[in-house]
Amino acid sequence: MAPVSSAGIPIRANRSFKRWLSDHLDACLDSLGRFIFSPLQTVITLLVIAVALCLPSMLYMLVKSVESGMINIQQSADISVYFSPSIDEETSLQVQSRVLALDSVLAARYLPPDKALQEFKEFSGLGDALAELSENPLPATLLVTPEMNRDVEPLIEQIESIDGVDQVQFDYVWLQRLRALLAVVDQVALVLALLLGSGVILILGNTIRLEIESRREEVAVVKLVGGTNAYVQRPLLYTGVWYGLLGALIAWFLTNLFAWAMSAPLDALGQLYLRDLSLAGLDSMDLLVLLGLGVILGWLGAWIAAARHLSAIEPA
């Protein structure tokens, strides 16, 4: 028996779990089936939702790709130690072993002047111009690889204090700038996600409002023959969930399409910078998160619209 209030009216439905499940399945499939009644409207709404979800996920993908690339960048971010021109090779090698003995140094590779010139020719693309030089302008160089994620400034000071070291160079600033830039992009992605997420809720709220409007008569009749608010709401909430889910799926597809479209130009760009540049597409975990977000936003938009507009339909 269903629980009965003091007034002798059941408070809630007396449904079996199986029936509950079949009611939900009905509402779920029915709301999906209704899409074919207004295909154009449905497709447009889905695309709007997909585009709204697409922008933050593209930014997220960008940040993720650059961050994973940063590990390589940092690994190759060696400290260049230039020796005074007067120093001979033996002294240089002594300096090398002193540097190697320092804390937080992983490796120190000695480059004699001619080798340094050769590498510079290869990487700078100035080979022809350099060939014109009668004399090698480059000093001997020591390429020091610091341990990752350690503060390199004390290390640089230590190396600078070693006799025979002329200059220590570390492209540290640009790395910091890149990090700061990424933090900004990250934040932008978050703000965009919040804004566009609210946009999705509003779009769906409006779509569901129109749906309620077109089913006004049906809602009134269902209520009069004893349909509960839950019964009236159920197909609307499923409609919202479907919109969110399908919109997220399209957004995932568009984002990966974008990653694919960017792969060729990024390859070309990467070759110029001698770096392996690529956008890491959204993986299955990201897809799950995106779909989950779509479902939550869709449900929320539909729920808000249902709560606001269903009560306006007679009878209460």
Partner: protein
């Protein structure tokens, strides 16, 4: 079955649709609610359906004081009542069968039972062969009978009707009334709002007459 004790209903804005109305409809009775349009017939039915609440006095229906029914319980109250509307309020995109099945569907009745009961109700109103049709494919009289089948499909012991013959010619009206009398004969309590005076005289039933919200004859 239905009892009104000094019931008044004032709508927001000040219009007083019912003024100090008291009457009762005993169990198993078939009563008519009459009066010119705007006399308060619809408001009275709305109070029983809890589409509106009384501003004063109390309404007791099927032994329950309606003031004590919370908003969440209203659907369960409505499931114990059958209603027939003047405009029959059928859903145009659903078949006759689906329209009649609606009260069973929303209350979660078992599916096997649904088909049996819907056909029994359609059989009673003589439309068993039209179950697959859409409402627009039926005549006005047939549509009203579908509305009646929907009102009785869940076997309520109280049936309300708001101008059920308002749009029908006298012959069809008589058919509908005959149908109502049949339901009443098997124990369903009925309250029928109508302004079809001829019909009531022929039926010789209790008349509850309203005029400008006041009870003038009971």
């Amino acid at each position: 079955m239905i009892q009104f004790d000094s019931v008044s209903k004032r709508y927001p804005g000040g219009f007083e649709a019912l003024k100090n109305v008291s009457f009762q409809v005993p169990q198993g009775e078939m009563s008519f609610l009459t009066g010119h349009s705007g006399a308060g017939k619809s408001t009275l039915l709305k109070l029983i359906m809890l589409m509106e609440r009384a501003t004063q006095g109390q309404v007791i229906c099927q032994g329950v004081n309606l003031a004590k029914i919370s908003k969440r319980q209203i659907p369960y109250h409505r499931r114990r009542i059958g209603v027939v509307f003047q405009n029959h309020s059928l859903l145009s995109d659903r078949s006759v069968f689906e329209n009649v099945a609606l009260p069973l569907l929303v209350s979660g009745a078992p599916y096997q039972e649904t088909g049996r009961r819907v056909r029994a109700a359609l059989d009673k109103v003589g439309l068993l062969n039209k179950e697959k049709k859409l409402p627009v494919q039926l005549s006005g009289g047939e549509q009203q009978r579908v509305g009646i089948a929907r009102a009785v499909v869940h076997k309520p012991d109280l049936l309300l009707a708001d101008e059920p013959t308002g749009n029908l010619d006298p012959e069809l009206s008589a058919d509908i009334m005959k149908l109502f009398a049949d339901f009443n004969a098997v124990g369903v309590t009925m309250l029928i709002a109508t302004h079809d005076v001829d019909l009531i005289r022929r039926m010789d039933r209790t008349e509850i007459k309203l005029d400008s919200g006041r009870l003038v004859d009971f």
